[in-house]
Assembly symmetry: C2
Homo-oligomer: 428 residues x 2
C-alpha cells in the first residue's frame, strides 16, 4: 500500500479537494493502526464536516472501514437475508415486532444491534427485560438461528468495522458527529460488513429525531441508499415521522410489552402501520411475495417471536418486570393534544432509569414512561396523561421536570403528518 | 473559574457562534493543563480555520495564551522599548542590522527570536555563525544589556505563552496553521508577553511569503495591529514585498556578512531600504526623533552591533566561517532577470545545510546561496548567477535541482513592486 502524508491529506480536504482512493485506504488503515493520530483524524473529521465527501469518496471510505474488520457471510442460508436500520427515535421499538414478522414470511433477518446511550433506548436493553434472554451469540449460533427461526437480534461483535468504532468515539468528543457523510459511512460500514443482501433504512425526521428537517433526512437517506447500492446491498429508505414518540411507551420492558401487543394483532396504530410498512419494503427487497398483515393475524409472527426469544435463552411467556414505583402526571388543560415533545419523553424515561449516562451502566428493565393519550386525541384537565415507572423513586422529580411544557393543547384536532413521509430508492 | 464543556464549545464555533470571554479563558487553560485533549483542540482549530475569531474573541484568546506563562517587564529601563517581528521570508536578515541601528538611536530593542525550520532561516541560527556568540541569556542579563547596549537578540524562553507553543505544535501536524486569527494570536501572544511598549510588524507578501496575496497580507497585518493595540502595545505594520529573496544572500554566515555591509554603510539597496523603513517606524513608535540613515553613516550603528555581539560572547571582528565547497550556477540566457523564485532559493539554501528538517538538528554556519544578479538586472548567458556554499558536497546536486526554473529572463527590464507596499496602523 502507498504511504501518504496525513497533514497533506487534511489540507487537501480542508481546501475543498477530493481524497483519492488509495489515500482513503491508507488514511483509514493508518488511523486504525495509530499511525495517523487522533488529533489528525479529528482535524480531518472537522474538515469533512465543512467540505463533505462526494459519492466516490464515501463509497471508498465506507469500504476502507469495512476492510479493517471481518465481513460476515450469510450466503450459506436457504433464506434471503434482509436487515433494517433505524436512525433512532423515542419509543422506537419497531425492530422487536418487525424482525420476527419478516422472518415469519420467509426471510432471514440478522439484526445486529447496540445498546442505548442518551435519550433513545437500545434494542438489546429492551430485550434484556425478558427473563433469561441473552444478547451475545457466536457466529455459528447466529447462522443456525437464522436458518431455523429466521430472525436474530443480537449484539454486534467488535470485529465489524473496528475503524468505525474508533472514529465514532473520536467524533463523539470532538463535535464532529453531525456530518451526513460520516453518519452514513458509520451506519453503512457496519450494515455492509454484516453481510445482508438487502437493507431497509428507517430514517427518522422531526423534533424527536437527530435530523430535524425533511431536507436533512432526505440527504441522509439518499446518501446511505447510495452507499448501500454501490456496495451491492439492495438498499431502500423510508423517511418516517418522529415529531412525537412512537406508540404509547418509552422504556425497556414497557416497549417489549407493546411489541408483543402488536404481534398479537393489537397495539398502537402508528406502531402497527410503521411495522407493516417496513415489513413490506423488506419482503419486496428480499423478493418474497407475502402479506405481513396476514402473518400478524394468523399468529405466525408471534410464533416466530417466541422461537426467537427461546433460541436466545429467554422465556417469552414469563411476566415482564414491573416497576416498584409509579406516578401519574395529569393533563393540565382540556383540548386536543397538539404536540408531545419526543425529546422530553425520552429524557424523562432516561432519568427514570431506562437509559444510561455512560457506557456500561446498568439500566432498569421496568423503568420508563407510558402516555395515555397520543397527539391528536382529546384530553380533559386532570385525567392521567403520563405514568412514570421506576424502581428508584428519587428519580421521579427530575423526570417530571423533563415533562414540563412537553405537551400542547389545542381547541381543534391538529393536522398530523403521516407515519411514512417519503421513500428513497436507488432510482429516486 | 467556571467550567465549560469542550464539545459544546467546539460545536458553538463549528456552527458559527461566538466563544464568550470565560469560555476562552477556560479552553486555553484547560488545553494547557491537558483537560481539553489534543483531539478536541485540533477540532476546535479546524472549526476556527473555517469560522474565524472576531476581534473580541481574538483579544481574549491572545490574552488567555499570555496568561499561561510569564510576562516580562521592561518598565525599569531608561530607554523606550520597541520590537519588530517579521512574518518570514527568504534572505530576511533585517533584524541583524535593524536592532543595533535602532538601539544606536536611543531605543531598547528586545528581540526574542527563534530558530529556523524549513525554507526560511532563523535569526539565532544566523548569529550563531559568529564565533563565540550565544543565544541564551537570563532575564537579568537581558535587562542589563538592553540598558547598556540597547539591543538584545536572544532565544525566547519557554516561559512565554506556553499555550501557544503547545497549540502551534498541534496545528503543525493537523493542517491548521493557515488561519489568520490563529497565526495572529500566536505571534502577538509572544510579543505582548515579551513586554515591549511598541511593536513594528513586517508582514511579507508575495510568492516567497506565507501570504501570497496583498489581500491576505493586509488581513493578517490588520488583525495583528488590532490585537497589539487592544493589548496596549503601540503596534504598526508594514506590508513588504517578498516576490524575490531579499538582498544577495540566503544562509547563516552569508547573511551576517551582508548585514555587516549594511551597518558599514553599504549593502544591497533593498536590504538598506527595508532596514531604514522599519527603523523609522520603530523610532516613531518609541517617540524618538532621530535619523537612522545618519546612524549608519556615522558608524554608531556598527558600534552598537559590535557591543551587542560582544555582550553575548561573540567576536564581531573574527572572520566568519567559509564553506569548504562552492559551486557556480551560470545564467542560462541573455536578458533581464524578471523573476527569482524565493521559495526555490530558500529550498536550495536549506538543502545545502543552512536549515534543518527537524527540530534540534545542527545547521551549517557557512552553507547557503549567493546570487550575483538581482531581479531587474541584466545578465548574459554563462555568467555566474548563483554560488552554492556547503561543507558537504553531496548536497549540491539536490540544491541545484531546487534552482531549476527558479529564474525567468526577459528582453526588457521588468516592472518591480516597491519594497514597502503598505502601512497599517490602528487608524487605518
Amino acid at each position: 500500500m502507498s504511504t501518504f502524508d496525513a497533514v497533506e491529506l487534511i489540507r487537501t480536504k480542508r481546501d475543498g479537494g477530493r481524497l483519492g482512493d488509495e489515500a482513503i485506504d491508507w488514511l483509514i488503515r493508518a488511523y486504525t493502526d495509530g499511525v495517523v493520530t487522533d488529533e489528525q483524524m479529528s482535524a480531518m473529521a472537522m474538515a469533512i464536516f465543512f467540505r463533505g465527501l462526494d459519492a466516490t469518496e464515501l463509497t471508498r471510505w465506507t469500504n476502507a472501514m469495512i476492510d479493517t474488520g471481518e465481513r460476515m457471510d450469510f450466503s450459506s442460508l436457504s433464506r434471503p437475508t434482509v436487515d433494517k436500520h433505524s436512525t433512532g427515535g423515542v419509543g422506537d421499538k419497531i425492530t422487536l415486532p418487525l424482525a420476527p414478522l419478516v422472518a415469519a414470511c420467509g426471510a432471514a433477518v440478522p439484526q445486529l444491534s447496540g445498546r442505548g446511550l442518551g435519550h433513545t433506548g437500545g434494542t438489546l436493553d429492551k430485550l434484556e427485560a425478558i427473563p433469561g434472554w441473552r444478547a451475545s451469540l457466536t457466529n455459528p449460533e447466529m447462522l443456525a438461528q437464522l436458518e431455523s427461526v429466521g430472525a436474530v437480534i443480537c449484539a454486534a461483535g467488535a470485529g465489524l468495522a473496528p475503524a468505525d468504532k474508533k472514529l465514532y468515539a473520536l467524533r463523539d468528543v470532538t463535535a464532529t458527529i453531525e456530518s451526513i457523510p460520516m453518519i452514513s459511512a458509520s451506519i453503512m460500514s457496519k450494515k455492509i460488513a454484516e453481510g445482508t443482501a438487502s437493507l431497509v433504512l428507517d430514517v427518522k425526521t422531526g423534533a424527536g429525531a437527530f435530523m430535524k428537517t425533511l431536507a436533512q433526512s432526505r440527504a441522509l437517506a439518499t446518501t446511505m441508499v447510495g452507499i448501500g447500492n454501490a456496495a451491492g446491498v439492495n438498499t431502500v429508505a423510508l423517511i418516517t415521522n418522529m415529531d412525537t414518540p412512537l406508540g404509547r411507551t418509552a422504556g425497556n420492558g414497557l416497549e417489549v410489552a407493546e411489541s408483543v401487543e402488536v404481534l398479537a394483532g393489537g397495539g398502537p396504530a402508528d406502531v402497527v402501520e410503521l411495522t407493516l410498512a417496513l415489513a413490506r419494503e423488506m419482503l419486496a427487497c428480499a423478493g418474497i411475495d407475502a402479506d405481513p398483515a396476514a402473518a400478524l393475524v394468523s399468529g405466525k409472527a408471534m410464533d416466530a417471536w417466541k422461537a426467537m426469544i427461546r433460541a436466545q435463552g429467554g422465556d417469552p411467556d414469563a411476566p415482564l418486570p414491573v416497576a416498584r414505583h409509579t406516578e401519574v402526571v395529569p393533563a393540565e388543560a382540556d383540548g386536543y393534544l397538539s404536540r408531545m415533545d419526543a425529546m422530553a419523553v425520552g429524557l424523562a424515561a432516561w432519568r427514570l432509569g431506562a437509559g444510561r449516562a455512560v457506557q456500561g451502566e446498568q439500566v432498569q428493565a421496568a423503568a420508563g414512561v407510558t402516555w395515555h393519550a397520543a397527539v391528536g386525541e382529546p384530553v380533559q384537565a386532570g385525567q392521567p396523561l403520563f405514568t412514570l415507572h421506576t424502581d428508584t423513586p428519587e428519580r421521579i422529580e427530575r423526570a417530571k421536570e423533563a415533562l414540563v411544557g412537553a405537551v400542547d393543547y389545542a381547541s381543534a384536532p391538529p393536522e398530523l403528518r403521516p407515519v411514512v413521509l417519503e421513500r428513497i430508492s436507488a432510482e429516486s
